[in-house]
Symmetry: C2
Amino acid sequence: MTSRDEIEKRFKALQQKICNALEQMDGKSTFLSDNWTREAGGGGLTRVLTDGRVIEKGGVNFSAVHGIAPKKITEALGLSESDFYATGVSIVLHPQNPWMPIIHMNIRYFEMEPNNEKGEKTYWFGGGIDLTPHYVDPADAGFFHQSLKGVCDKTDPAYYQRFKKWADDYFYIKHRQETRGIGGIFFDRLNDKSESHSFDELWDFVVNVGEQFIPIYRHYVEKYAEKAFDDSHKQWQLLRRGRYVEFNLVWDKGTKFGLDTEGRTESILMSLPKNASWTYDYQPMENSAEEKTLNLLKKDINWISYA
Amino acid sequence: MTSRDEIEKRFKALQQKICNALEQMDGKSTFLSDNWTREAGGGGLTRVLTDGRVIEKGGVNFSAVHGIAPKKITEALGLSESDFYATGVSIVLHPQNPWMPIIHMNIRYFEMEPNNEKGEKTYWFGGGIDLTPHYVDPADAGFFHQSLKGVCDKTDPAYYQRFKKWADDYFYIKHRQETRGIGGIFFDRLNDKSESHSFDELWDFVVNVGEQFIPIYRHYVEKYAEKAFDDSHKQWQLLRRGRYVEFNLVWDKGTKFGLDTEGRTESILMSLPKNASWTYDYQPMENSAEEKTLNLLKKDINWISYA
């Protein structure tokens, strides 16, 4: 069984690999490194790239923290006081070009051990990749989902459908009755009790998800990073970023939980764009690309059928 | 005792009066009117001004809604199924000029009547005015608080201290350890049981708060609407707007409640600025105006002492 230290090391290496690949694709800007420690235990390395050719503002975070689990977690899980350990890589990239999507990836490993005789140590994996195009192109969405299905199928033929639905339900902006984007895959609390897979099989799955990030992003960079756009596209991008902010601050459980338990605010909110915009009661023109996108921000679309 | 209809009428008249005064001060743009109805009962009039001389994006909302109270309210109050009625005026103005503050006012009246024999009808008033300067000037903050103290003192010499503290506690961005601005007054659940004042005295107080809005705003318009600024001031304004967005979407109970109970999203989120910005780990320069402002975004400052 892969050890905690090996997982942490692999996540760190993946962060480095992804940052290198992104710098190479961007070709203009590089990642700053911000090492931080957490008073109550552990720390992280936040890497931020701004004002690049491709990426306007993006973060690739690694963290490995431990200590007494916040009461909010243990209460939610019905546990007494527990030690926890959490490590993961978390990415959000906001592109310059409105034809490029916003991308988000997170992979994480969690351990929890109640501080009493009876308490059994538990662990689980979580994560996913999801995409928020400012303009939804069904064929691109098909490519994205096909690529995620490929990763899922290597471990379990049932995973893609299950985790695709999970993403549809999770990345939903309830007060707008819109999905945040075209979803992707989302999974949480996977372990060898919840799944018919061993610890190492699940760990391989998580690593495969992480390794798929760059090939996916490369597709969009090559196709869209230099595509011409005008002010109206930029305005729409700013409005869609506004919706992204709304989702992250109002509904995203990870963000809320982090802010509520005195997580590191700057690392949590690196997910927010450089700028965003709000217009009262914006209505897209009939048959416009913006209206077509809005009509595709729905749950339960079978994107694979467009691949 | 002032009737529900009279309260509603007075709120509507106040909305009109404030919009007229703001249009006259702005001198460039005018308010659009958006009448809406709520399927489950009632409706409102949302008025929005954009791209003015003084105001970049501002809303002055009136609403009067009724029906079965959302479960989240009745459960929080420990009540069985109840009819409710709520009316109020709510204002947020985001100015063009970074030297101008963002201002927020809300006054509201609420009735609740459980649908059973024992249930006693209750009502209360709530509201307040608070200010979010992009740059905090202590003398201006003194003027603002002195003006609110004047309104409070007319009804109760204890109100200002009590409601000033309430605003400090309410408008607090916990994850930034900053207040949203310089506070003001905030009050809720005032009725003739909680207070040693009659219904009509409390109603007079609420009307006085509403009537104070224009004289306060006029002070800032006359002093700052045309004050010269440069790009660095504008950048800071955008960052402070980012914090405003964070407060409203993460911590503001009214916003969360509205979005959670299927309130009218566009009217609730008219509080958001036309644009806002986020920079990773922004640090102001030493002894800069920005750093001075950050040092004044604290609870429990005695602003009156600067008046």
